[in-house]
Amino acid sequence: MPVLMPAQDDAVLKRRREIVRALRNIVPGEGVIDTEREMRPYQSDGLTAYRQIPMVVVLPHTTDQVARVLRYCHQNGIKVVARGAGTSLSGGALPLVDGVLLGMAKFNRIVEVDFANRVAVVEPGVTNLAITQAVEQQGFYYAPDPSSQIACTIGGNVAENSGGVHCLKYGMTTNNVLGCEIVLITGEIIRLGGKHLDAAGYDLLGIVIGSEGLLGVVTEVTVRILKKPEVARALLVGFPSSEEAGACVGGVIGAGIIPAGIEMMDKLAIHSAEEFVHAGYPLDVEAILIVELDGPRSEVDHLVERVAEIAKLSGATSLRASTSEQERLLFWAGRKAAFPAVGRISPDYFCMDGTIPRAMLPRVLLRMRELSQTYGLRVANVFHAGDGNLHPLILYDANQPGELERAESFGADILKLCVEVGGVLTGEHGVGVEKRDLMPVMFSQADLDQQQRLKCAFDDKGLLNPGKVFPTLSRCAELGRMHVSGGQLPFADIPRF
């Protein structure tokens, strides 16, 4: 699929052999890959519709090597795309034909687990789940749990500010990371935060998290770890309409209850999942909710009762509360298998990722049904209902001429709809290349310019992951220009005192 990336730099490509040699001097042995066959595994990430073999792949294993690679690239005007496990769903790690692909997989050590301060210090190539595995013997865990947590790395989580099903109560990556070591494109190494809670000076850590590889390369991460709740229980509730399911979500939160997670699935998603994993989902309903409550046992038991009452008042036609860990996991099994389950009933699908104010759900679902008819494509809905994060799955067949394009237009319409009702383009998958050209739907040119000025402060030559996030890249010199209007006294009628 064609996507307009920054114009390739022929001068750089002509120097390819010299560049490879220079990189081999920095990262010796097998750390530099330059044959097309060996580079092919790096040509795309989780958004496989976009592919590009990079100019060269570099796999450093020390911070010093990262610093020297970046300094070399900065001095020589060479673009750099950093990559963790390559699970991005938005093309955040899509390589560039004239760029270095900097793979961080060798940074796979747990540096320190510090229970007294409830933090873990890890290298960026450690997987999300491996952090929990390193601390769970003492009863701790790392809270953000993106569905790719077996494979995705914490470095990628930092780049994308990854979420998961428990964000409503426990926050996203940005709320659970306390510190980072970052290498700037100049090769300078800075440390932001640490084991303490508040930033000194500007909260640059808060900016780097979610910056999609445009500001620097993370070489170490300090995360907060939490004690596992004493107990978690889930309710599986069926509703005759998604409106009633939505009302139930509002009712629960309005009653002052913050569940660990609330997931909604629509009929197509329920049936696909049930056929796949036999989780015992009711099939005669239009929507189900999975509501999970965690905490001290007496609190959880009390809240399960309260949620059950609210669900009944909201029109629930079926309701089960888990009484064992096995049953709770069974409720989740269908939800967790929803994407592959939909994959069984359609040759291809797009997973969208907008967020809306919860109350807008009925309106958005109705409009989505209309769009589904207009485009002649089915859509299954999986929804982090607690925080308003929608994952519509658009079903299509890439082998049917025109279906891919129709699916893309359908997806774009859904995201525009999210913004129209007060929501946003992406809740947890990132902008990447996928939603890059939709950014003006949500932001004015002035908004985008100010974001790009921040990039200029980190990366004046625009070498880090260009072509992602921003639809047009402006030169820092242009962005720096001031347009001052006049200088006449504007205070003529502002009250003075």
Binding site: I190, L197, A200, P296, L303, V424, L479
Partner: protein, 405 residues
């Protein structure tokens, strides 16, 4: 002598900044001025009073979201939220009496510009973690927005985080959107008596490692504890707060008791006493300007929770101090000296990790010893470049955080 301007709307703010740029003037950005004494003292050409940019824009309790103009009094917002059983969960402190001002002042914009939190920060995060969206005016006189009104949002750089804690040096907040949460229905506090600072650090780590959602953990040495009517007598007191449902509070307190039993004798405070105590801890009442330590300088130190008592051991024994955030936040009132303790405190913090802010000191001291944590090398250069890209002519609170920023 500086001019004072009070913008009535967003357009006025833009006009004020454009005027400053055109005339190479500097602007002091102020809400109610409750934190005006924090930072480097500077001469500004004009003061921009944002308290007129006030009013709630949107409040949807079921959506857990509130949008408001930035000059809205914080007190108005907390009252509105409380009437719906909700709150700002990060428990923002009131700096007023600490700095010699009145209680209950402060705007929501000032709270965010200073990233102000309180004891519950250890469980729910800081102000920045609840700051969902913003409309601001940069030092270029241009309006920009970032974020939105939903919690789960990764669309573009998160400028809310950058603006939180930037003390008005990068942009003037005009409209802000916050995540709000249900108030706890009930609370109780457990007091463990007689621990020294290092034992208290271990006890607080043990309590935080219990799956109870402790929402406050502080250690008050004897000379501090004795100033609280609700704490018995003259023993050091390490205090733990549990909040949650009335139905399950008793069980949680019982579990907490088993977690802290190895550390000493304890007592339980009732709800009213608990609320009084945590409000006083939140607002750093032992060091209020009108109290016995009111003439002392005051430092706020953020460090790893297990490192606090190591810092305490390295500074003047005549210092008075207490710990919040399970040991990770220290309020330190050193004796009055020429540098207000800057030398030894900065040295101790450099070894332990973290940072220190001189919150209260005479202007002359704040002018000679950086009140904000000094930065060096690549980080200091990056900070300057960030400032330049938001405020190239340095018209917004220039020099308040550091010289040249």
């Amino acid at each position: 002598m500086s001019d004072n301007y009070k913008p009535r709307d967003h357009k006025d703010i833009e006009a004020a900044v454009q005027w400053a740029i055109a005339g190479a003037k500097s602007l002091e950005i102020v809400g109610h001025g409750s934190k005006r004494m924090i930072g480097r003292p500077a001469q500004y050409d004009a003061t921009l009073d944002l308290s007129g940019i006030a009013g709630i824009i949107l409040y949807e309790p079921q959506e857990l979201v509130l949008s408001t103009k930035a000059g809205t009094p914080l007190a108005e917002i907390t009252t509105l939220l409380a009437s719906n059983g909700q709150e700002l969960a990060f428990e923002p402190m009131d700096y007023g009496p600490l700095l010699g001002g009145a209680q209950g002042l402060g705007t929501v914009g000032g709270m965010l510009a200073a990233n102000v939190s309180g004891p519950r920060r250890i469980r729910v995060g800081a102000a920045r973690d609840h700051f969902l969206g913003v409309v601001a005016v940069s030092g270029r006189g241009e309006t920009f927005k970032s974020g939105g009104r939903v919690v789960k949002n990764v669309t573009g750089f998160d400028l809310c985080k950058l603006l939180a804690g930037s003390w008005g040096t990068l942009g003037i907040l005009s409209e802000v959107t916050l995540k709000v949460l249900p108030q706890a229905k009930a609370e109780a506090t457990l007091v463990v008596f007689g621990m020294n600072d290092s034992a208290a650090a271990a006890a607080m780590a043990a309590a935080m490692a219990a799956p109870l959602g402790v929402s406050g953990a502080a250690h008050l040495p004897d000379y501090i504890a004795s100033r609280f009517d609700d704490l018995d007598g003259a023993e050091a007191s390490t205090v733990f707060r549990i909040d949650g449902l009335a139905a399950s509070l008793g069980d949680c307190v019982a579990s907490l008791k088993s977690a802290v039993r190895p550390f000493g004798d304890f007592a339980t405070l009732n709800e009213a006493a608990s609320q009084r105590l945590w409000r006083a801890i939140r607002d750093v009442q032992p060091f209020w300007a009108n109290g016995p330590c009111g003439d002392r300088p005051l430092w706020r130190i953020s460090t790893a929770p297990s490192k606090g008592y190591e810092i305490a051991a390295k500074i003047s024994p005549a210092s008075q101090l207490f710990y919040d955030w399970a040991g990770g936040l220290m309020w330190v009132a050193p004796p009055v000296t020429q540098d207000c303790g800057a030398g030894e405190i900065r040295h101790a913090v450099a070894t332990a990790g973290g940072h220190a802010t001189l919150v209260r000191a005479p202007a002359a001291v704040r002018a000679s010893f950086d009140p904000f944590h000094p930065e060096a090398g690549a980080l200091a250069a990056l900070t300057k470049r960030v400032k330049e890209n938001f405020d190239p002519k340095r018209v917004l609170n220039p020099g308040r955080m550091w010289a040249g920023v």
